[in-house]
């Protein structure tokens, strides 16, 4: 009897509580999906930022939902949108823009952000990041969690090999010749330290796009409906990548795991590595030796893709929610917040203004490698992005894998991939 009474009072007070919240529920509710692709600090920082936004704007309630990897996030957002219950905003890979347009689930920012102030904001980002965020004259994504690959090198290993520890390879030839000096073998002739490591598991197209850009070729047009996979310059770039292992023997053979690459670098298994700037804070915290960060080496030119995630606003929300979403995105990409985010993760702050904040200046003065990514943006191009993006990149990845593992020649693999991509993209031309 007593327990019944107790549960009754509890139910009553719960009802009273929910009435209380109902009374103040004219606030705008936003659901916000975000992915995390690097260490644990990213999720924590996003939550800190949304919480402090809600403190400043009590009329907005943001439910920040960690949705897994980039892949999981786009799957969840699309599934939710198909079920008629999409989030209001989400961070999703910039390259998924065409997919999201094709599925008709997002709106362009220009349709909501119409004031002069808004327009100035839309123009405040680095152009390299906007390449993947605009199509047909409209802006569909706002750069936020953006990165670019850079070269990390172990200064101690360079010194040991008789190289200048302050000088990273500037071009393809130097990367090979440095690599050859850096390779160390044990008494049995087995390699204990490789020269360089360009990971190829999972999404090899991304780092490979560094090589193709340096070789002066673009992989897909900006309409996202035509690829250039079998261009002779792409073939040459792939041949170079394959030769690093087979001919010059400065890189481990076979497919190289993306995830264990920083670890291989820390363990001295490789003296140089190519990986995302998103790993910068990780390397800074964990490398037991002096390391340097440089732009990727050049061939005809310097070059690298951009990468990472953009903010998207979903179609199926009220006008009030859309406006509130734009305001939130505007706030979180403002210099102060962008600087905080960049320092916590290593992602490249997306506006020049963010680099001018006092916090960012102090950080860069203390840790100059953070600047390399920004300098590289001048040479950066849009990450490979097409309609049916996941499928096209999968075809391309398979071709790269086939060439790297030696089942097909570079030329043959890329020709097959181009034919397959043409077949799929034909209906979008």
């Amino acid at each position: 009897m007593k327990s019944l009474f107790k549960s009754l009072t509890m139910a009553a007070s719960a009802a009273a509580l929910s009435l209380g919240t109902l009374a103040s529920a004219h606030a705008v509710d936003l659901e916000f999906y975000f992915p995390v692709a690097v260490g644990g600090k990213a999720a924590q920082t996003i939550e800190e930022l949304t919480n402090s936004y809600m403190e400043q704007h009590p009329d907005v309630k943001i439910d920040a939902i960690y949705a897994g990897s980039y892949q999981d996030t786009v799957s969840k957002a699309l599934t939710a949108a198909r079920g008629g219950n999409p989030p209001q905003l989400s961070v999703i890979l910039s390259v998924d823009m065409f997919t999201l347009i094709d599925e008709d689930v997002i709106v362009a920012f220009d349709e909501i952000a119409t004031s002069d102030d808004d327009k100035a904001w839309l123009n405040s980002f680095y152009p390299a990041f906007m390449e993947n965020s605009q199509t047909g004259g409209k802006t569909y994504g706002i750069p936020f969690q953006r990165s670019t690959p850079v070269l990390y090198w172990n200064k101690e290993a360079f010194k040991e090999a008789g190289l200048d520890p302050e000088k990273a390879p500037a071009n393809w030839e130097e990367m090979v010749s440095f690599g050859q000096k850096l390779v160390k073998k044990d008494d049995n002739g087995n390699v204990t330290q490789w020269g360089v490591r360009i990971p190829s598991s999972g999404f090899p197209y991304w780092l490979f796009q560094g090589l193709t850009t340096q070789n002066g070729v673009i992989l897909a047009n900006s309409e996202g409906n035509k690829t250039n996979f079998d261009d002779p310059k792409v073939v040459e770039a792939l041949q170079y990548l394959v030769d690093l292992s087979t001919k010059h023997e400065v890189m481990a053979p076979g497919i190289i795991e993306w995830g264990s690459t920083p670890k291989a670098f820390f363990e001295g298994n490789t003296a140089m590595m190519w990986t995302s700037t998103g790993n910068l804070t990780n390397v800074r915290d964990n490398a037991p030796f002096d390391f340097g960060v440089a732009m990727l080496p050049a061939k005809e030119r310097r070059g690298a893709p951009t990468g990472g995630g953009n903010f998207y606003i979903f179609k199926d929300s009220t006008d009030e929610q859309k406006r509130a979403s734009v305001d939130f995105v505007k706030w979180i990409t403002a210099p102060k917040q962008a600087a905080k985010w960049s320092m916590a993760t290593g992602y490249v702050a997306p506006t020049p203004a963010a680099w001018e904040t006092d916090e960012m200046k102090a950080y860069v003065a203390d840790f100059p490698p953070a600047l390399v990514a920004r300098e590289q943006l001048e040479f950066a191009v849009a990450e490979l992005s097409t309609y049916q993006n996941q499928r096209i990149t999968r075809i391309f990845n398979d071709a790269l894998h086939a060439a790297i593992t030696g089942t097909k020649s570079a030329e043959e693999a890329l020709k097959d991939a181009q034919a397959e991509a043409d077949r799929i993209l034909a209906e979008y031309r």
Binding site: D102, E103, N188, S200, A252, G254, I255, E257, R391, N397
Partner: protein, 292 residues
């Protein structure tokens, strides 16, 4: 009248289970078959009837044939190996030996652990250069490092090893339970007759275990088409689809490429394949397994 009432009672009792079975098994299966005859709806374009076009695509899709062959090899290797290993382990821990519960527990441990978690552990084993296997190979035998998951020749075998390791412990439990139902008097009688251990095993134990073997083998077949979690974590189907299996490919087509119609077509293939195997096992083998 009473007969009619019984009829209603019967259906009422069946009703809850039937609704669940219909809603989560039969309706989706039928919808899948229907979807496989339509094109994929995308945003502004509605699905339209395309007849057998999806099936034509399927026949011309080299990736489909590759994952199907992979899956057959995968099944052929993992099913007998895990059954053999589980029987061996069960026979061993069924005997009286020191620390029996500890051994039993360690054999069963892989089953308890989530596959994604153990895949991460195996990922470390297979890491070239500083992974466990390579450290042993390089440290003790002076062999060069090997990219286990990065080569098309070894990657599927590596996946099979993880699966066998994971499954054997689970099947061992069934064999162990079956072994304990065999009356000890049979062993005593055999001993009096002077039968050797191997004769006893092949003539008595093994035939008595046949129903369990049938059950375990059906489970193993289903699992060989169903367990793909470790592929997500370890290889993502690569390199060049060398470690991709049918179900993994279906997931990719459905939730990465968002080509739901083609995914439905692939699912129909999986459905037909599994139904045929299950029918075969129940109808043809069931007659032979029971010891008479």
């Amino acid at each position: 009248m009473t007969q009619r009432l019984q009829w209603i009672y019967g259906w009422l009792l069946l009703f809850p289970a039937m609704v669940m079975l219909m809603a989560f098994t039969h309706v989706p299966a039928v919808t899948t078959v229907i979807n496989s005859f339509f094109s994929t709806p995308r945003g502004r374009r509605e699905a339209k009837f395309v007849g057998l076009a999806n099936y034509e695509n399927l026949i011309n899709d080299p990736t489909f044939w590759k994952v199907l062959t992979n899956n057959l090899w995968y099944a052929l290797a993992t099913i007998p190996a895990s059954i053999f290993l589980s029987l061996l382990m069960a026979l061993w821990v069924n005997d009286k030996l020191k620390g029996r519960s500890l051994v039993r527990m360690s054999f069963f441990a892989p089953t308890v652990l989530p596959l994604i978690a153990v895949a991460n552990i195996w990922l470390f084993f297979y890491t070239p250069g500083f992974g466990l296997i390579d450290q042993i190979r390089m440290g003790f035998f002076g062999l060069p490092e090997n990219s286990w998951l990065g080569s098309q020749e070894t990657v599927l075998i590596c996946m099979m090893v993880v699966t066998i390791w994971k499954e054997a412990g689970f099947f061992m439990i069934f064999y162990l339970a079956a072994l304990q139902t065999i009356p000890p008097s049979l062993r005593e009688a055999a001993a009096i007759e002077g039968a050797s251990r191997s004769t006893f095993f092949w003539r008595v134990t093994f035939p008595l275990l046949m129903p369990t073997t049938l059950f375990v083998s059906i489970n193993a077949v289903i699992n060989s088409f169903r367990m793909v979690d470790h592929i997500f974590t370890m290889t993502g189907g690569g390199p060049d689809n060398a470690s991709s299996l049918l179900l993994f490919y279906i997931y990719e087509v459905a939730f990465k490429f968002w080509d739901t119609a083609y995914a439905a077509t692939l699912t129909v293939v999986l459905l037909v394949l599994l139904s045929l195997i299950a029918l075969g096992q129940f109808f043809f083998m069931d007659r032979k397994v029971h010891y008479r």
